[in-house]
Symmetry: C2
Subunit: 161 residues, 2 copies
């Protein structure tokens, strides 16, 4: 008979995390912490590190010339206020510039700069590699599956905001 395993559990493997063991949101939230930290390291010093949204914004402006801050806000799941400040930062860093829309003078159109475009180029590689490396214990097949499923969820959430 094994010795009674009472008393403070010490090894991480013996720990019971209760219903979280089968709770998807728990894994999403936890892995988010880890993957975001890892990504920040890889982006160190790049004008685009820290927080969600900068990278997405960079790509959005690079690939969709004239896109508006409010559209970006919906896609990065932040409010206009936060998005505005984010655009401020990126403008200060010379990654993009604003223009008032000709159609609607309330709105702005965002355009990438040369510097921004170059950064996008660099970041493209870093981000792709980082994600694949971080999740390297997941097979290609599973990886594809995960993305297909989570993409649906993301689209649903982004669409309704």
């Amino acid at each position: 008979m094994l010795p009674p395993t009472k008393g403070p559990p010490t090894s991480i493997k013996d720990i019971d995390i209760d219903v979280l063991e089968d709770t998807l949101s728990f894994y999403i939230r936890s892995i988010n912490l880890a993957v975001s930290r890892d990504l920040d390291e890889k982006l160190e010093g790049l004008d685009v590190a820290r927080g969600t949204g900068k990278i997405t914004t960079l790509f959005l402006v690079d690939g969709n010339p004239g896109i508006r801050p409010s559209t970006i806000a919906k896609l990065i799941l932040k409010d206009r206020s936060a998005t505005g400040r984010l655009v401020d930062q990126m403008e200060e860093h010379g990654l993009l510039f604003r223009e008032t829309s000709a159609d609607d003078s309330r709105a702005q159109e965002l355009y990438i700069t040369e510097k921004g475009h170059e950064l996008a180029e660099r970041v493209r590689g870093i981000v792709t590699r980082q994600s694949r490396e971080f999740f390297s214990d997941i097979s290609d097949e599973e990886h594809k599956l995960l993305i297909d499923i989570l993409r649906r969820t993301y689209r649903r959430v982004a669409a309704q905001s």
Copy 2:
């Protein structure tokens, strides 16, 4: 022939998010924002809302009497400093209490209180339901699959910290 779709893209569906479209970390990070917000709403006023870690800590202490702050730190992927403050809060709210370990007077053992146990009971239901509802567009089969995969990743990450 369709009219040229040049000019500022307006509908979210037409937007190109570049390589992020196939980047798992992007989905994890984005969905994390949404699912965390949704969860916070469901937990409103419950001593356990906001930030990652409180819920996990509550369950850990409830299910693993005598568990140490440093063990919790590894599981919630925070440093001891942040974990300590988190335990402070929960102690102030009367959810758990500390005792100095008899074996090692540097270490503490954490125990749940009656109030903490009751809260755990409530939160168990809320958390499970919230996750399943949030991801309700995912089939049971896919859901199971996702969890199995992400659990591996979480364990790997938690183990090495």
